[in-house]
């Protein structure tokens, strides 16, 4: 398993698409805060900056799986994972006597490692650039904020572990780069669009209205649009539960489905 993981990690790092992903991560981290600054100044909304736009919100926006790097990176990583099947190099592993479960898990671990690391670096770079233009938050930064920030980053990484699991599942089942891209786009955009509808519904519904609880839960569980992470200053137990349910369920589900399907799959 360790040998497979190291090999898969090397394979991803040596791929040109990984370099493209790194460049995009840097470009988005610089451009997004810059664009926001220009936009807010052009709209003459400088007074509102402290309340609506700050480095903290830029940091967590950078993690959104339906936007920018959050949308593109999983596709690029899916392509790299998929190459193991489309180029037939996965055969070397099977013929070498490696188990299919180990092969699947090593793909997932390598994808998760790369995605989480890149996403974290991208977000931190976004934060760094944003701090040139905006304050971190309206209130002064306290030690409690540091704890909240660390917990939030951990939750975001958990979301990307789930996305890595989805990506690995899709790449393993599709075995074809084109289908893999389409499937991931369908999943990511599908969840983002549906999530956006529920978010609007949630914003307009009266909290006392019938069905508000269900909408709130669906919003919280949709990792592609969830705004629970990094939106406040502390987490309630209910929020932590909501934040954890979806990534853990998606990761576990993708792993179980991936292992069971891959175990009996015919390979070329």
């Amino acid at each position: 398993m360790r040998n497979l993981y190291i090999a898969d990690l090397k394979r991803i790092l040596k791929d040109k698409l990984f370099m493209v992903t790194c460049i995009l991560a840097g470009v988005f981290a610089i451009i997004n805060p810059l664009l926001n600054k220009v936009l807010f100044e052009a709209l003459d909304m400088g007074d509102l900056l402290g309340g609506m736009m700050n480095a903290k919100s830029m940091l967590f926006t950078a993690f959104l799986p339906g936007d920018n790097l959050g949308l593109i990176m999983p596709i690029l990583i899916a392509i790299i994972v998929c190459k193991d099947f489309s180029q037939g190099t996965v055969r070397n592993k099977i013929i070498s006597g490696k188990s299919r479960t180990a092969i699947f898990l090593s793909h997932l671990l390598a994808a998760a490692t790369v995605m989480c690391t890149l996403m974290l670096l991208h977000a931190l770079l976004t934060l760094g650039v944003s701090l040139f233009f905006f304050p971190y938050q309206e209130a002064a930064f306290t030690f409690a904020d540091l704890g909240y920030l660390m917990a939030s980053l951990a939750f975001e990484l958990l979301v990307y572990v789930a996305i890595a699991a989805i990506v690995t599942l899709i790449a393993t089942l599709a075995k074809n780069m084109g289908i893999c891209i389409l499937l991931y786009l369908a999943v990511a955009l599908g969840f983002s669009i549906v999530g956006a509808i529920f978010q609007v519904a949630g914003a307009f519904l009266d909290p006392a209205a019938k069905g508000y609880g269900a909408v709130e839960l669906l919003n919280a569980l949709n990792i592609y649009t969830s705004t629970l992470i990094g939106a406040g200053t502390t987490y309630t137990a209910k929020q932590v539960l909501y934040i954890l349910i979806a990534p853990l369920a998606l990761t576990t589900g993708s792993i179980l489905l991936g292992i069971s399907r891959f175990a009996r799959k015919n390979l070329k």
Binding site: N3, I6, K14, I94, K268
Partner: protein
């Protein structure tokens, strides 16, 4: 007799289309087993089954005595090296990186061994080259694939169409390599190939497959015996010729043809012709014919034109 691979009654269908129809194969240790069959006959499917890339609908096989239903089969697979259809190489990496990658997967991490293995397949000069395998010629890819298959010191190597894309010099090199590995290291080979005459230069045993069924397993020596040598001799007096040769060739060996006789099997042609000339018979024609593995294959498969 120690068998490296024994398969019995392998059946495999894809979307209702039966590709293998009860294939039975026996490969003994030390064999160079030539796997012969027309396109779509099921050669590659058998290879995929053995290497664990696909699963059989029914039937069973054992590798080094370990049955495919036994979880230990994965350990047995670690003792084989294989190229299935096309070489499984990382196109965006150099030859060196490809071998280091495979070496890492195998848990070897032995750079010297990788270098030596690359030299073994005639690609030694590519060790330091940054050129990506995607830019290699077909032949170079094939050799790199073989090098990767050799890395784990396999006891059994499966090569699916190994001569594909190789130039004449490359074919000779790979043939020499196969013979060297078989003779000096005792490695058993299963080689599927369309180039039957090339296969005939290395194979010690053949398996002839057609329409998902193994028609025959035959040793090279047995094949040599059944591949007929025939000599046709025609004279102006057939009756006198028959009388002259009857003491040397019985009626299972000598047959009447128009204007003369046909003698099956290896004969001392000079001696026979000398005898005819000494008897003052006028020879009008002498034709010799040796049926090849291709002829034998075509006769076995009912004349399928493509192998």
């Amino acid at each position: 007799m120690e068998y490296v691979l024994q398969a019995k009654g392998l059946v495999k269908s894809y979307r209702g289309n039966r590709v293998l129809n009860g294939v039975t194969i026996n490969i003994r240790r030390g064999d160079i087993y030539g796997f012969v069959g027309e396109n779509g006959s099921g050669k590659t499917t058998v290879i995929r089954l053995i290497t664990g890339l696909i699963y059989a609908d029914s039937g069973e096989f054992s590798l080094f005595g370990i049955k495919n239903s036994d979880p230990a089969i994965r350990g047995a697979r670690a003792r084989i090296g294989a190229i299935v259809e096309a070489p499984s190489i990382y196109l965006n990496m150099s030859a060196k990186d490809n071998l280091l990658m495979q070496s890492g997967i195998l848990g070897l991490r032995n750079e010297e061994k990788c270098k030596a293995t690359l030299a073994t397949v005639g690609l030694g000069e590519m060790w330091e080259s940054p050129k990506h395998a995607g830019d290699f010629s077909l032949g170079m890819r094939q050799r790199l694939g073989i090098a990767m298959a050799l890395l784990g010191d396999p006891e059994f190597i499966i090569l699916d169409e190994p001569m594909n894309g190789l130039d004449p010099a490359g074919i000779v090199e790979i043939r020499e390599l196969i013979l060297h590995l078989n003779r000096d290291k005792g490695i058993t080979f299963l080689i599927s190939s369309h180039i039957l005459t090339e296969l005939a230069l290395v194979a010690t045993r053949y398996g002839i497959i057609s329409h998902g069924r193994l028609l025959q397993e035959i040793s090279a020596a047995e094949l040599e015996g059944v591949c007929r040598h025939t000599t046709e001799i025609k004279t102006t007096d057939r009756a006198a010729l028959v009388s002259l040769l009857a003491p040397d060739f019985d009626n299972t060996q000598m047959f009447l043809v128009d204007g003369g006789v046909r003698i099956d099997g290896n004969i001392d042609l000079n001696a026979v012709l000398g005898k005819i000339i000494a008897a003052s018979l006028t020879i009008t024609a002498v034709n010799t014919h040796h049926s090849s593995i291709e002829d034998y294959y075509l006769s076995m498969t009912g004349g399928a034109r493509r192998a």
